[in-house]
Symmetry: C2
Subunit: 232 residues, 2 copies
Amino acid sequence: MKYIQDSELLEKIIQQYHVEEMFDQTKQLPFTLQQYTPDEIILLEGMEMQSLLFLVEGKVRITSSIATGRSLLLRFIHPFSIIGDIELIRDVPVQSQVQAVNECLLIGLPFDYIKQYEIDNPKFLHTLLEHVCYKLQTCTTASRVNLLASVENKFASYLMSTISAEPNNNFGIELTTSNIKEMANLLGTTYRHLNRVIHSLTQKNIIERDKNSIRILNWDDLDKASNGIRYK
Amino acid sequence: MKYIQDSELLEKIIQQYHVEEMFDQTKQLPFTLQQYTPDEIILLEGMEMQSLLFLVEGKVRITSSIATGRSLLLRFIHPFSIIGDIELIRDVPVQSQVQAVNECLLIGLPFDYIKQYEIDNPKFLHTLLEHVCYKLQTCTTASRVNLLASVENKFASYLMSTISAEPNNNFGIELTTSNIKEMANLLGTTYRHLNRVIHSLTQKNIIERDKNSIRILNWDDLDKASNGIRYK
DNA sequence: TAATGAAAAGGACATATGTCCCAAAAAGGA
DNA sequence: TCCTTTTTGGGACATATGTCCTTTTCATTA
């Protein structure tokens, strides 16, 4: 993570997302601007959280670890999103693992500051409420989805989500195989089984696989294979 | 549903749960007091919601329908709980089906009133936020659970939850078999499979089944069979 | 280059669960 | 009471997925 000292950029972003409308005193809020590289971990489950974060650029993956050391993909988030709402309100440690998918820009605002100056500001509270309610609604949907979706559905959806975030969409898209194990974990399945699914999609000419890449041959069919599942 | 006209009881409940601390003007809030009978449906998915509800007595089941007409048990709630938060904040139709497990008492407060007088009240907003955050945290946990729990786990847990809410816990507990289909739906499985699971638990002498009842023979083993799953 | 060891892929089998359908049982009606 | 219809239970099989272990591939070192 790299702190960026660029008050002009910060100001621009604040304008863009109407951040100032959320707070009482618009100027001199102790914001930090943070940049993360692809795959960099932003928050680890269990750590104490110090700042509320606003995702303003890039795409972020939210996962949750389960007993066996595996992890489960909860959702992807995009700008403008709030990270740390539960932790701020309920005073609990970080609930999920948060990781940058591509290059990301986040704004941070210390909990201490919020608790001192903004915690009773209705505008701020409304913003929080709306975001948390949205997440709850999404999570409920996801619960349902988990009962309907096969690994193939989820993998197809995951592939599309991850790849469409890549900038180099020139002619066929690459994806290293080195992280197939990680993908299996994210989808809540085993390496063995994901391999089976990849094999099956390859047979159907929906994706193509060689040494170090997976390439999508047929987006339409991949979309069908996802069966409408979306990690929005 | 029966409206109860008993301002004394209402007052007592308001005191008990410190409801007045949540609102600005403590007196003359247009509360209604509503009573539901066991298994009565409180809210149907998709309907327009008019009042925020507070569960103050009894136990309520929250479910969500999925494509195939099946439904999925989301959670049980107990006093003091808020029903309708997402609907109030996001202005969406009722998201889940809400049904009384036993005799329930709820307080209602019209959305109109809230939007007019309380929507910017920080105390009220805090209460809402806390409850929604709690639900979100629970839902995330449940998502994980759904990936770990077998139907046997869920059924064992469900049985214990439902039965412990019954008052007549004298010597062995009864449960009509007529609703096994409904239970299967609630657990997100088929009648056929739930039958298998019941059969298996019967074989192990954990439960006993005759014409019209299921009786728990061994709570400890049933608890083990639930594998720690709790629909709190 | 050949031997060795680590990483990746895949075969074989087990389990949980869904689907389909038939048989047993219960409920009604003549 | 006996026959018909409906309801309930369960057999048989299919599919998705997990576990375990062997084979294959690939890189590394003598």
